[in-house]
Amino acid sequence: MPFREVNSKMVEATVGPGQKMFSQRGAMLAYKGEVSFTPNIQGGQGGLMSMIGRRVANEATPLMTVEGSGTVMFGHGGHHIQVINLQGDTLYVEADRLLAFDGSLQQGTMFMGSQGGVMGMVRGQVTGQGLFTTTLKGHGAVAVMAHGGVIELPITPQRPVHVDPQAYVAHHGDVRNKLSTALGWRDMVGRGSGEAFQLELSGQGAVYVQASEEKL
C-alpha cells in the first residue's frame, strides 16, 4: 500500500485485511479503524536465522507489525520523512532510519565487505553504517527518516554522484559505491577542508541525501 504524505513530517498509510506492514516501534501518531500493533521480536521478516543475523549485524531496530483495517499516521522524533517506492529493485538503508515499510518487501542484511572488500568495510565506518546495512527488495513503499529535508539525486552511468558520507541517507538501484579520499598533506597537519572523504556512487539508480550532516 502506498504512503500518502500528509506533510513533510508525517505519512498516512492504509492497511487492509490480509496486508501487513512493519514500522518502527512507537512511531504511530494516530489511527482510525481497527488496527493492532504487535511488537516484533524478530525485528522484521524471515525466520529465526534472519533474526539472529540481524542481531549479530546490529541491524535489529525495534519494529512492530501493523495489521487490521484502517488508516495509520506515522511520524517520529520531528524527522523529515521521505517515501520511496520500489519497483523490484533493492534499497540500501540503515535500519534505524526505517520508519515504516510494506510487508510485501523482502528484508535482508548486507555485509558491507561484500561490496568492495576491505574498502567497503572502511566505507561503512566512515558513513556510520557500520559493517552491515539493511536491504529491502521487491515492490512496495518505504518511509525513510532523515534529519532535515531529503533530496533525490539520480545516478546515471555517465554521471556518478559524490555525497558527503554524513549526509547520505539511502540509495537504490544497481549502484556501486566507493569511498573516494582526497587526503593531502593539509589534512595531516590538521588544516584539511573537512571534506576529505566522499562517497562516490556510480551505476544506475538514485541516492537520497539529507540537508544536514547530523545523524539520526
Binding site: V6, N7, S8, K9, M10, R25, G26, A27, M28, L29, A30, Y31, K32, S36, F37, T38, P39, N40, I41, P62, M64, M73, G75, H76, G77, G78, H79
Partner: protein, 258 residues
C-alpha cells in the same frame, strides 16, 4: 532561492504568519494575552504588563480564569506590530467563532482577550471559549482529524468542539501463550503503542506531526476538593507515578504486581 524579504511596519502582515515559525499580531490600542518570553520583536508603542496588574483587573475578570498560573502570562497593550515565535516550532493561528477548543498548555502562545481562557478538567490542558483568534505552536505542521480516532498521547495538541476524550488500552498481544511469555519475561518488549487517547463524537482533533512534546507549561494546581480530577497531591491511584522509561512494560508491571 529568493533573497531575504525585508519587512517594515507597513509590509508586515496583519494577524498572519510572516513565515512558518513567526506570527505577526497587529495591535490597535487593543490587547493580547501572550505567554512570557514569546515576543521576539515589535514595532510601535506596546507595553507589556504582567498579569495581575491593577489596571488590567477588568480584563482579567472576563478573559483569564486560571488564577494559579497567572505568572506565566503577560498582556501586550498598545498600538503596533508584534512578532511571536517559540524555539523554531511551527506557529499557526486559529479562529474560533463562538466555539471552544482545548489545547495542551505548552502549545498555546497567545490569544485575543475576546476569548476566555479556562483550565480544562483534563490536567495539563487549557480551554479557550468564545470568539477570536489565538496562536499556537506545534512540532511540525498541525493536522486536523475527525473522530473517531485514536491518538498517541504525545502527538495530541488539542481538540475543538466536544469530542469525548478517553483512554484506550490495546494489550491484545499480551494474551495467549506467546503473550503470556511476553508479559512475564518482558521478552519482545512492548510496541510502545498500547495506550492511546480515543476520541469519539463530533468535533475536530488536532495532531502535531511528531512525537516530540513541547515543554509542559504549568497550568497551576487545581483546587483540592472532592470531585475535582487531579485535585490535591497524590490521590490513591497516583502513588509512585515515576516517569516511564522506554521499553518498560507500561503499567502492566504494576498490574501484575511486579
Amino acid at each position: 532561492m529568493t533573497a531575504p524579504v525585508i519587512f517594515d511596519p507597513y509590509s508586515l502582515p496583519t494577524d498572519d504568519n510572516v513565515n512558518k515559525y513567526t506570527f505577526c499580531v497587529e495591535l490597535k490600542s487593543s490587547q493580547w494575552f501572550l505567554q512570557k518570553g514569546k515576543m521576539i520583536a515589535y514595532y510601535g508603542q506596546i507595553e507589556f504588563n504582567g498579569v495581575g496588574h491593577g489596571r488590567l483587573d477588568r480584563l482579567l475578570r472576563t478573559s483569564f480564569h486560571s488564577p494559579l498560573h497567572a505568572g506565566d502570562w503577560v498582556v501586550a497593550d498598545g498600538s503596533g506590530k508584534m512578532l511571536l515565535a517559540d524555539r523554531a516550532f511551527d506557529v499557526n493561528s486559529y479562529d474560533l467563532d463562538d466555539g471552544n477548543l482545548t489545547i495542551r498548555s505548552g502549545n498555546l502562545l497567545a490569544y485575543q482577550p475576546s476569548l476566555a481562557l479556562k483550565q480544562s478538567i483534563v490536567p495539563g490542558f487549557l480551554t479557550l471559549i468564545g470568539t477570536g483568534k489565538f496562536v499556537a505552536a506545534s512540532n511540525g505542521p498541525v493536522v486536523f482529524m475527525e473522530p473517531p480516532i485514536r491518538v498517541d498521547p504525545q502527538a495530541l495538541v488539542g481538540w475543538a468542539d466536544c469530542p469525548s476524550p478517553c483512554h484506550h488500552y490495546d494489550h491484545g498481544y499480551m494474551t495467549g501463550v506467546l503473550g503470556g511469555i511476553r508479559s512475564l519475561t518482558g521478552l519482545g518488549g512492548t510496541s510502545g503503542e498500547e495506550h492511546q487517547f480515543e476520541f469519539v463524537g463530533a468535533g475536530t482533533v488536532l495532531l502535531q506531526s511528531t512525537e516530540v512534546l513541547m515543554a509542559e507549561q504549568a497550568t497551576g494546581q487545581v483546587a483540592n476538593e472532592p470531585g475535582v480530577p487531579g485535585g490535591g497531591q497524590g490521590g490513591p491511584g497516583q502513588a509512585g507515578a515515576a516517569p516511564r522509561l522506554p521499553g518498560q512494560l507500561g503499567d502492566l508491571q504494576r498490574r501484575f504486581g511486579l
